[in-house]
């Protein structure tokens, strides 16, 4: 009898460790800066909130440009940053399709189609994600490389600048990890 009690206690300790290991959490590396891929990431993220999952998006590389606010202007950028600033899409409304862009024609056709079929736009999806408590973490190194400043990012309720360690810790605690 004493032995069983001991075993139960040991099991309880093990279970509590396991529970701590994985939260009901989803971590996505959002790497791509194209409309279709960003949409996929945002649809999965907002859908997961309906499952009461905690969602953390780690924006890095090309995706970081999609978080720029087209209305915000920043000064004091060096030459390379300015060049990048001109070449990268200024915000989520300016990103293009990864396929069949056809000089922008494909993208605008897709956007019209989305409106017709009641699919939320990327801008709307980002706003919804913010309202639903989806956390956005932006990679500091990518922002630095591409000359994106914190001041030109969108007003988002839960946005932080971070490094790879943040993603790794979040991902380790998550049941699902994706790279888009």
């Amino acid at each position: 009898m004493e032995n069983i009690e001991k075993q139960i206690k040991e099991l309880q300790e093990k279970v509590s460790l396991l529970e701590k290991g994985t939260k009901d959490q989803l971590s996505i590396v959002v790497f791509s800066g194209e409309l279709d891929k960003l949409l996929a990431a945002l649809i999965i993220a907002t859908g997961a909130t309906a499952m009461d999952m905690k969602v953390k998006l780690f924006f890095t590389f090309w995706a970081s440009a999609a978080l720029r606010d087209k209305k915000k202007k920043v000064t004091g950028k060096d030459f390379m940053s300015k060049m990048f600033g001109i070449m990268l899409p200024k915000g989520s409304s300016k990103v293009k399709l990864s396929k069949m862009n056809m000089g922008g024609m494909g993208t605008s056709m897709m956007k019209n189609l989305m409106k017709k079929k009641n699919v939320a736009s990327l801008e709307e999806m980002i706003t919804t994600a913010g309202e639903l408590g989806v956390e956005i973490n932006v990679c500091e190194m990518s922002m630095d490389l591409m000359g994106i400043k914190k001041e030109e990012l969108i007003d988002y309720p839960n946005l932080n600048i971070c490094g790879v360690a943040t993603f790794l810790v979040d991902a380790e605690e998550s049941k699902i990890q994706l790279f888009i």
């Binding site: 907002t46 859908g47 309906a50 499952m51 009461d52 009641n118 919804t128």
Partner: protein, 83 residues
Amino acid sequence: MTQEELNNLTVNKSVDARGTACPGPLLEAKKAIGTIGSGDIMEILSADEGTKRDIPKWANKKGHEYLGTVEESGFFKIYLKKG
């Protein structure tokens, strides 16, 4: 439940998500289910074919009972009982 039984249910909350595509209906269902009590019946109207499969899966995960779906012309009525 049979189609007739579903049609005769007393619905506590009806959500019209016909104006949205995935993941709109799911998000609206999630929002609405918070406003009703345990055992209450919720109806979700959706024109999105995927919702028919999505809502039962979601309900199962969240501990709500999926009662069935009624097909109307061009949309679906999905019934749930809150757990």
